[in-house]
Structures are given as structure tokens and as C-alpha cells.
């Protein structure tokens, strides 16, 4: 135990003094979310504001056959009406941003409206994102006009508006806000934890395996009268700690990021903050611990088998994909925790974390996840010990 602690302490000091480890373990996980949230929020806010206050250029293509609507458009703030636009040039003008929108009325529009029929109007706009601010701003006068027409018709025909609303649907979603937010936002959190856990463990694993071999310090270490298994456990400890540290720091970064984002509704904020409570974090970290041991075993085995730091990096890079894919599958709707998904590494942690955050995790599933993760962790530890004890591995440079 004393030897393991000695090796662990030295490897930790050595790693902390390496700027690259600090960047991967602390700087990136801590700053990524606050910076990302700040940049995204400010860009989005600026864009939305621009769309909201911008004066829209609109063409009304009629031949005096939509008189009421056209007159309702005159004098509206934020709109400039463009005259003399032909119906066949509307599309091209909107595409080239000469116009923001256009209404092209059918020849019989006023007649149809007066005869209680539908008056046809083609509404042209350009929308490339989900926010549809321009579309909504232009649709508003049209909706208001339709509402007025309907009220006049109901009045004229002496009909109650309930006649056309045959069914009054009042949707009641019984899922708690925690569940809804948990499944939606909670899907992202395990993804973040897992990726950072792997990323944080990756650099020290390469440095303490292939890096030591390349620099010739491994042979020096192996001349000390200590069991190789104990040396490996000391190194393992630092790799695991780095992974967990990186994941924990990413949670802190996420917390700071959320706190500084102003436009999150308060009820959502309460739920998210509740999710990031100590009890949940500890439960999630207890899942990440065996997963990180599994990562450490795999990473150290690959690192020890590599001839150089560079070779280890190129061997480990594809593993990133192997981690991201199952972690991302956990984000997909319809993928639920079962006894099958509970034993698939990475995916099981992703799903279990999602369920923990939503408060819907079932104990037998959680046990299956722990058993599978501990099994894999032991297997990967055994694998790295096997590599470390091989003469050809140590002197393969």
C-alpha cells in the first residue's frame, strides 16, 4: 500500500506540473460551458433582437381585390410596403433579400371572403431557423384579419363560436416537471460527464505509459525493488483521479455557465439546480468511478503497448469515437434502460444518469449497471497488468 501511495503521489506531482494535463483536466472542462453559453446566448440574443426591431419590407400583390386587408396594413409600425411588385418576381426578390415577405392575393379574394368562402392568399417568406421571427411578425396581421372576418361571419349568421370548436381539448401532462426536464436536459449531462471523464484520463494515461517508455524513465522505475502491479496501481490511481477530476470540474463549469445565463425560466432553473445537488452528483460519480477505471485500464493498455507518445495518441484517437457513439445513443428518444442496455458500457452510464436525474431509476437496473461496470473495470485492470508485465512491451520503443 505504501508503495502504491508513493508512486501515486509522485505521478500526481509529475502530472500536475505538466501544462497539457492541466489544460485537459481543469482549464477546458471549467471554461468550456461558461464560454459556450455566453457566446451562444449573446449571438442568439443579438440575432433575435435584430429580427424583432428590423423594419420588414413587404409586398402586397393585389389588383384592388383585397381592399380591407391592404388598408389594415397601412400605418403598421415596423413594416414598409413595397408597391409595384409582380407576382412572378416575388420568390426571387425574397431570396435575394430585397424583400422580407409578400402576400399575393387571388383575383377573387374579396368576392370569396364576402360570400363566406375561403379567400386565397399566398404568403411568401424565407425562414432558415426554428425561431421564425420574421414569419411570425408577418403572419400576425393576417391572423388578426382572419379573426375579425370570422367574428363578423359568426355575428352575421348568428352562430356561436363553440359550433366550430366541436371538441375542447385541455391537455394535462401528468409527468412532473422534474421528469420532463430530467429526460430532456438530463440526457446531455451524462454525455458531458462521460466525454470529460475520458478526455481527462486520456492525457495522463498516454504520458504515464508510452511517455515514460519514450523518455526512458520507465526502465529506471523498474529497477526499484517494487512489485510491478503496485507501480501500475499507482499510475492507475492518477489516471482515474484525472478522469473524475475533469468530469467534476466540467460540472462546476456547467453550473457557472447556467448561473450566468440570464434567460432561463426560473422554474427550469430550480429543477436544474436540484439536479446538480450533492446527492445526485455523488450517485452519478459512483457510476463514473468504475467507468473511469475501465477507461484507465483500456487507455493504459493501449498506451503501454505503443512505441511512443505519438503512436499512443494515434491509437487512442479512434477510441474517442467508440466512447462518443454509445454516449450519444443514450441521448436518442426511445432508448430506455433495460437489462440489455444496462450491460453495454458507456451507454449504461448514459441511460442510468438520465434516469437518476429524472428520479425514475429502478434499483435492479442500477445493480445490473454497477455489476457490469465493476466486471469491466476488473477486466481492463487485468489487461493493463498483463501488458505491463511483458518484457517486450517495456522495451518496445
Amino acid at each position: 500500500m505504501k508503495t502504491i501511495a508513493t508512486v501515486f503521489k509522485k505521478e500526481l506531482i509529475d502530472s500536475i506540473r505538466d501544462r497539457r494535463t492541466i489544460v485537459f483536466m481543469i482549464i477546458i472542462p471549467l471554461l468550456l460551458f461558461p464560454l459556450l453559453f455566453r457566446v451562444m446566448s449573446s449571438i442568439e440574443k443579438r440575432q433575435a433582437q435584430k429580427q424583432r426591431v428590423k423594419t420588414l419590407r413587404v409586398a402586397l400583390v393585389d389588383r384592388g381585390n383585397a381592399a380591407d386587408f391592404v388598408s389594415s396594413m397601412h400605418g403598421r409600425s415596423g413594416l414598409t410596403l413595397v408597391d409595384g411588385v409582380a407576382a412572378d418576381s416575388v420568390t426571387a426578390m425574397i431570396q435575394s433579400d430585397s424583400l422580407d415577405g409578400a402576400f399575393v392575393f387571388a383575383e377573387s379574394f374579396d368576392q370569396d371572403v364576402a360570400a363566406n368562402r375561403s379567400g386565397r392568399v399566398d404568403f411568401y417568406f424565407k425562414s432558415t431557423d426554428d425561431r421564425d421571427i420574421v414569419e411570425n411578425r408577418l403572419r400576425k396581421p393576417l391572423d388578426q384579419y382572419e379573426k375579425t372576418l370570422l367574428a363578423q361571419r359568426f355575428n352575421r349568421l348568428a352562430i356561436d363560436s363553440a359550433v366550430v370548436d366541436a371538441v375542447d381539448v385541455r391537455a394535462q401532462n401528468v409527468a412532473s416537471i422534474e421528469e420532463r426536464v430530467g429526460k430532456a436536459v438530463g440526457g446531455m449531462l451524462p454525455y458531458i460527464f462521460i466525454i470529460f471523464c475520458f478526455m481527462g484520463a486520456m492525457y495522463p494515461a498516454i504520458d504515464l505509459g508510452a511517455g515514460e517508455k519514450e523518455r526512458g524513465t520507465m526502465e529506471t522505475l523498474l529497477t526499484a525493488p517494487v512489485n510491478r502491479f503496485h507501480i501500475l496501481l499507482g499510475k492507475f490511481g492518477v489516471v482515474v483521479l484525472s478522469g473524475l477530476m475533469s468530469a467534476t470540474v466540467s460540472i462546476i463549469g456547467l453550473y457557472i455557465g447556467i448561473k450566468q445565463t440570464a434567460n432561463i425560466p426560473p422554474e427550469f432553473m430550480d429543477i436544474i439546480m436540484k439536479m446538480l445537488g450533492w446527492d445526485t452528483i455523488i450517485l452519478v460519480l459512483s457510476l463514473l468511478l468504475p467507468l473511469t477505471i475501465f477507461f484507465a485500464g483500456v487507455l493504459l493498455s493501449v498506451s503501454l503497448s505503443a512505441r511512443s507518445f505519438k503512436e499512443a495518441q494515434s491509437l487512442i484517437s479512434p477510441l474517442n469515437v467508440a466512447i462518443i457513439v454509445p454516449a450519444a445513443i443514450g441521448l436518442m428518444p426511445g432508448i430506455e434502460m433495460t437489462y440489455v442496455t444496462a450491460v453495454i458500457p458507456v451507454l449504461n452510464v448514459s441511460l442510468a444518469t438520465k434516469e437518476i436525474l429524472a428520479g425514475t431509476i429502478q434499483t435492479p437496473h442500477l445493480i445490473a449497471v454497477y455489476v457490469s461496470l465493476i466486471g469491466l473495470a476488473l477486466l481492463s485492470l487485468y489487461g493493463s497488468v498483463w501488458w505491463f508485465k511483458r518484457e517486450s512491451t517495456i522495451f518496445r520503443t
Binding site: 509529475d14 526512458g216 526502465e219 529506471t220 529497477t223 526499484a224 525493488p225 517494487v226 518484457e391
Partner: protein, 256 residues
Amino acid sequence: MIEVRNVTKTFKLSRQQKREMGSAFRGDSVDAVSGVSFACQPGRVFGLLGPNGAGKTTALRMIATTLRPTSGTVLVQGFDTVREPERVRASLGFLTGSTQLYDRLTPNELVRYYANLHGVPRGDYERRRAEVFQALDMNAYADRRIGKLSTGMKQKVSIARTMIHDPEVLVLDEATSGLDVLASRGIVDLIRRARDRGKTVLFSTHRMGEVDQLCDDLALIHRGRLLYDGTYDAFKREMQATSFEDEFIRRIEAAG
């Protein structure tokens, strides 16, 4: 004491290594050391000499337990290197060109680390550290990062690391490599003192002058085989060439 008894080390070759050996090479393996036997006695300095690629480092790695002999036996202080490797390493101070140091640690931290791995008690460590650092004139840079030190300074740190646990057996390969005359003299003195205190010293060098200064016994190794094993005095008596260096070259060339 070190006893090397009829030791052979065979390395299996990969396909790429076989290609690198040239078209004339046949077989799947090479013997880096072949049937080598010698003994290093306490209170004496044993010089292991040979040209580059002779098998010296392989032989020394087998003594240090980092490589296992394919056949034969190596005993250090009576402990078998295969059966009791940790007891062998506990009594050994091992230094070769391939045993490097951690650049991000200071000499103090590094030497302390190896003292801890060797289980040196705190009091003994303080005394040994003061003694070795003084002898090697290392105190001025004891708290500077090793990565910032010169080659000579690093070599001294390596020697301090090798000697901090006061091993009964010292295996030093190219210990004075990269050092100036003054620093080399300091190390030669340190080796002499170790010998005078009854330590077994196995010393390998390319500096023929150091052989004359230090060695009591001598072995010549070439292409994995032993060409000479005896006392330095006997070697000198049997010399056919006029200088030690010329005799060394004559024997290597005669072996083919």
C-alpha cells in the same frame, strides 16, 4: 556479489526486424548474449568492456532483472534474478544510458522518491543524501527542475539516484558519459570509495583510461560472447599490443 552462469538471451524478431537484418539473415531470432559466465566479487571493480552492440546492456539488464535470461542463471548477493527479482533490485544500484530521469521533478524530489521506493528510513535518507550530494557537488541545483539541468548535472543526479539506498552491488554503464574531467574524477572517486567499503562494482565504459584507474577484474564481450574473463593485471601481462586500447581492438578484430 554477482554471478552470471552460462547465460543466453534470445530475442524473437518481428517481420520488420528480420527485413532490417538484411537478406543474408536466416532465422527468426538472435542471441544478444550467448553462454556468458563471469563473477564480480565484493570489494573489487569489475570492468565489462565491448564495442557498441556487443550485448553489454542486455547482460546488465538481466542482472538488473528488467530482462529474463532465456537460459542460464544470474545471482545477485545470492538471490536468483528470476525467482527473487525484488530482493535482487533491493541490493542493486543500476545505471545505464537508458535509465533516464523525470524532467518535471527536482534532484531532491527524485532522489527522495527512489529512497522511498527502496524503503530507506528517513534518518538514513537525510545522512545519505547529504553525503552523496556533497560528494557529487549537487547542492547548488538540488531544487531546480531536472529538465533545466545540463547533461553532466543530470548524470550526477542519476548517480545519486543509484546510490541513495547504499546498495551492496553497483552496476554502472557509462557512468561518466557526458561529464567533464572534474566531474568524471568525482565519480571515479565515489566508485573507489564504494569498493573500499566492500561493495561489488560492475563498471562498463568506453574510456580506456578509466579501466586503468578503476578495474581490478575485466571481461571483454563481443557479439554476445565472452572473449576474456580474468584480472586486469593478468590481461596486461598477456597483452601483445603496446597499449590497452590497441590490445582491446586487436582482440575484437581477432574474434571477427
